[in-house]
């Protein structure tokens, strides 16, 4: 009988380090490992030493009790606490760097589905259980799930993020070393959870360009434009419903007086639950597309709306109605007047990154988006 155990030598004891973040995390981990090893040695050493040195020699021994000293107690609570604080700040620094992707990162959409990873590049390339990325560039993944919670885990990059149904989460990395790496689903998701795995290919820039050229597919904005026509969205939008032109990242005044930013989450909600946030001055006419559109189609529609442009004069004041409290009248209700009114309000502090970022992505997609509109 064949013994199925064929260990891979040399034995792997450390995961490959293939991203900038991986190096930073390993440094922190090694530090904590070192301190922990010292602590374990100290405790085990004391136990062994005391156990031998103070071994009971006669059954009638009565050692004198020692009351604890406040100094000693403070020392061994205070010193660990200080060490912990250092670890906390160090860890938080890495975590926040991890949580906020650079503004100019290239974006790739990932949809988890029992039991596969569907990867969609904005320019149209589609992959299943594979992810091709260039080395040396920041890549942001935008994750969602079609059914249950999954988790997109690339050990070589030391990143992991849950893909949660009904919301978009994100993670990013800058791969350093070309090669192929594991991709796992880390959140238990049912029967074939352990088969929801794949490969991440980190490629040299030139190879990546070649791959891009070879992989076929329709750009997301184009696909979204087709959906837009197929579902008859153009019958109403721009006529009796708010226009979608230059809507992306616009401040929108709602019927109930609130003001929201037309980001991806807002668009997703407005497609699936149109009644949830109604634009001021418009009737609640739109049917829900929940169950009609797949997660991918929603993303494509959002990509299409992005390709229709972001607010003009974005740098100075993207927000119409923002900060007005009663911003309904000046909001999206009067889109044609937007350019003139655009700079009347201060920009919200966090508006700029969005605008810059989405300007870039709309640049990529402008060509194809334009074609769709003329169909």
């Amino acid at each position: 009988m064949m013994w199925p155990f064929t260990p891979a030598f040399p034995l792997q004891i450390w995961p490959s380090q293939a991203s900038v973040g991986a190096r930073e995390m390993d440094a922190l981990f090694l530090t904590e490992l070192g301190i922990s090893a010292l602590m374990v040695l100290l405790i085990f050493g004391c136990i062994f030493f005391f156990a031998i040195k103070y071994h009971r020699r006669s059954p009638n021994e009565r050692p004198r009790p020692i009351r604890g000293g406040i100094m000693l107690e403070s020392a061994w609570s205070g010193i660990p606490l200080l060490v912990f604080l250092v670890f906390f700040f160090w860890g938080a620094k890495i975590y926040f760097a991890n949580a906020a992707p650079p503004k100019d990162a290239m974006q790739i959409y990932v949809i988890g589905k029992q039991w596969m990873w569907y990867v969609q590049h904005p320019a149209g390339q589609r992959e299943i259980d594979e992810l091709h990325v260039p080395a040396g560039r920041d890549v942001q993944l935008i994750l969602t799930s079609q059914d249950v919670i999954h988790s997109f885990f690339i050990p070589a990059f030391r990143i992991k993020k849950d893909a949660v149904p009904g919301m978009y989460t994100t993670e990013w990395f800058r791969a350093t070393t070309p090669g192929s790496y594991h991709l796992f689903c880390a959140q238990y998701c049912g029967t074939s959870h352990s088969h929801m795995i794949g490969t991440v290919y980190v490629m040299k820039e030139a190879d990546y360009e070649q791959w891009l050229a070879g992989a076929r597919g329709e750009p997301m904005a184009v696909a979204g434009g087709k959906l837009y026509v197929r579902y008859g969205c153009d019958n109403c939008h721009g006529r009796i419903c708010p226009t979608l032109s230059r809507l992306y990242m616009q401040q929108v005044g709602l019927a109930d007086g609130r003001i929201v930013r037309a980001d991806d989450a807002y668009m997703r909600e407005s497609i699936l639950d149109p009644g949830a946030k109604i634009v001021a001055g418009y009737p609640n006419l739109m049917p829900s597309f929940r169950g009609v559109l797949s997660e991918l189609e929603v993303l494509e529609l959002i990509a299409y709306i992005r390709s229709l442009g972001t607010p003009a004069l974005a740098g100075e004041g993207a927000g119409i109605g923002a900060g007005q409290g009663l911003g309904t009248a000046a909001g999206i209700a009067a889109p044609d007047a937007r350019e003139q009114q655009g700079n009347q309000n201060a920009t919200p502090p966090d508006a700029n990154p969005h605008v810059t970022q989405s300007d870039r992505s709309s640049e990529i997609q402008k060509r194809e988006g334009g074609e769709v509109r003329t169909q």
């Binding site: 949580a99 974006q107 980001d263």
Partner: protein
């Protein structure tokens, strides 16, 4: 033990507060509507706990046990809102969950 007249007085107070809470709900106080409603509810609950449930007439231990549950509920509410209140804070293009507020 309180006398019966104390009970009647407390009951009258509770009645006033009950009608007050309904009445105030029809006045537009903006964000203060739920706050006022909750303050009145806490007042009513305190009256019931102190007088009807005799906490006022018992030792400190009973008092601690009476409020422990509410304190723990506050922990739950407070820490859970650290998530929901801050979900939209980080400017993440395309990654803002719908449940944040």
């Amino acid at each position: 033990m309180p006398s019966t007249s104390t009970y009647y007085k407390i009951f009258a107070l509770l009645m006033i507060l009950a009608f007050a809470t309904t009445g105030i709900a029809f006045i537009d106080l903006g964000i203060f509507n739920p706050i006022v409603a909750m303050l009145i509810a806490v007042t009513k609950a305190t009256l019931v706990v102190l007088f009807f449930m005799h906490v006022r007439y018992q030792g400190r231990l009973t008092f601690v046990f009476a409020i422990a549950g509410f304190c723990w509920l506050l922990i739950l509410l407070l820490l859970i809102s650290t998530d929901y209140l801050t979900r939209g804070w980080l400017p993440l293009p395309g990654a803002i969950p719908p449940m944040g507020f």
